[in-house]
Structure formats: C-alpha cells, structure tokens
Homo-oligomer: 188 residues x 2
C-alpha cells in the first residue's frame, strides 16, 4: 500500500509518501515541505498548495491520503488556515477517487512513539529510526508528514476491521428491528 501523508498548513505544508510492506515494514519514498508567503492573498496560497499536492498525487499515485485532523481549540486563526489547506487537499484526492483518512495528532504520536503526548523531538527521532533515514527530517512539518503516513500504514488493518465490525453491527441491528416489527405485527 502506498500512503501519502499530509501535515496541512498555509505557511508550511508537509508532504510525504511511504510504501508499506509485510508487517510493520515501511519505506520512505519522498518527503518535502511546501511554503507559501504569508503576504499573498489566501486564494493564491491555496492554489500553490493545491497545484503541488496534485503534482505529487499524479506522480506517486498513492492508494490513500492520510491528513492530520485539525482542531479549532488551538490558535484559532492558524486553525482556520490549516482547515482551508486541508480542504483543498481532500478535494484533490476526491477528484482522483483516492481514499482520504484523517488522524488526530495524538493518534499519530501514539502510533510512532507509543505515547500520545510525545513532543516534536521524540516524533522526529522515532520517524528517523523507523524509516532508517540517514539524517533527521527537517523542519518538523516534514517529520509530521512522515509520521502521519506511518501511522496510517499501521492503523489501516485496524481501521478495516473496525469498518467491517461496524457494518456487521448495522446489519444485525437491521435484522433485529425487522424481527421486532414482525413480532409486533403477529401480536396485534
């Protein structure tokens, strides 16, 4: 499975591509950070990000995009820009019929370091080790994009099992409701 990890942002947007193998094996294929000038109009910044992300999608042809889920409770203004960047990236994926998954920062940290509250240095350290990189990825956005892709590779089997279980539960509830209805009808 080929996973593209995206740490969305207007000023710096981290991009990575990782290929997963057997078990927990993961291989880094590419990593980079897109920057857009803070003084540019918002729509031009979004266009620059969208163009780069689309180029990556068309070059690497990932099976799935893993995007960091943003919360508004941090810096409100930054969060809005991050959400807007995340929106155009999800749109680019939808246009290519590529699956999109969102992971929270805690899920990503927990996946790569075993601790949902790890700091940036620990995440960078573990990403460097897991992917056997010769040097630490910089800036932090690059490391975060790699961590997101690793997180998705490792959580994917669990996500698939969860989806299967939820589908089965929904199916059984439907059957149960039908049984209830039939009984109510018979009792009338």
């Amino acid at each position: 499975m080929r996973v593209m990890g995206v740490d969305p942002g207007l000023t710096r947007c981290g991009l990575s591509v990782i290929e997963s193998g057997r078990g927990r094996q993961v291989i880094a294929l590419d990593v980079d950070v897109v920057r857009t000038p803070a003084g540019d109009p918002l729509q031009h910044r979004l266009l620059a990000i969208s163009d780069t992300v689309e180029y990556w999608m068309d070059t690497h042809i990932p099976d799935v995009i893993a995007i960091e889920r943003v919360f508004a409770n941090q810096n409100a203004n930054t969060a809005m820009g991050t959400a807007q960047a995340g929106g155009v990236i999800a749109l680019a994926a939808a246009r290519r019929d590529i699956d999109v998954h969102f992971h929270t920062p805690s899920e990503v940290k927990a996946a790569v370091t075993g601790n949902g509250r790890a700091d940036k240095a620990q995440v960078t350290e573990m990403v460097t080790r897991i992917l056997a990189l010769q040097q630490k990825p910089t800036p932090a956005d690059a490391a975060d994009a790699l961590a997101l892709a690793i997180c998705h590779c490792w959580r994917a089997p669990m996500i698939a099992r969860m989806a299967a279980a939820e589908a089965m539960a929904a199916e059984q509830q439907k059957k149960f409701q039908a049984t209830l209805k039939a009984k109510a009808k018979a009792a009338r």
Copy 2:
C-alpha cells in the same frame, strides 16, 4: 460589476449572483443553496460543493467572489467544515483568476441593515426590500449569500480607496526612510 456571494458551509452552502448598477442599484440574478448529506465522507461533500461552485462561476462569470469570513470562536466543529468549504471555493476562484474578498458577518449585517448585530429575520427583510424580491429568500443561507454580494457591491468603492490610500502610505514611508538614510549618511 457582477458579484457572486457565498455563505460557505458543508450542510448548506448559500450561493448568489448580483449585478451592481449606478450608485446603490443592485439586481439579483440568481440564488440557491447547495446541500450535502452529513453522513457522506468529507472529501465527497467538498467535491460536490466545488463542482456546483465551479459551474456557477463558469455560467455567471462573476468579476469578484465575496465569501463570508469565518471565525473559530463559534461552534468549533462547524467552523472547521465551513473553513474547508470556503477553502475549496477560494481555490476555484483562484483557478479562474477571479478576485476574492472576505467580509465578516458584522460587516454584512451593517451594510444591509445599518446594524452590525441585526438578526437573521432583519437581514432577510432588508435583502428582500433592497432587491425588490417578490418573496423572502429561504433558507437563511440564501438570504445571507445575497446580503454578502450586496455588501461587497456597496463596500467595493471604499475597499478600492483604502487599497489606494495604503499603497500611497507605503510609498511615502519608503521615501521617508530613504530621506532619513541620506541624512544619516550626510551627518556621518
């Protein structure tokens, strides 16, 4: 000037097109609300909104897009979805080289009702009167999209004057800095 007003949102996204004439004259050309099902994956909802907005842009060929500026201090989750929708709309405008302006809810309310804290009913009432509509636009998102476009038509001359004044101030500051530098050099 032809202005497309957008009240962004995932569940309901208000769209309007207005043509401004002499003075404060404004004519409504179109208004509608795009809805996407809450249960759909985010990327599919964004794609549906983007497709509709792009169709409107290509049909009406507006000179400028007026989008409501979202703040994160309201309902955090809704605000993120609204920001994501706003992002893909700004992107569609950038791809067509259409100018984008953001107006806050207070600016819009103040422009159409004279009161920055007017309620939804007052905005709808004034929009109906200003555009001489035969019936009130519903839902509120449709009225908001019309109000946004009216707001932009009326604020546009002021925005242009502000931009000119800011450019002139920047120019004069540059000259002043140059004079200071020259004097400092002469004094050495």
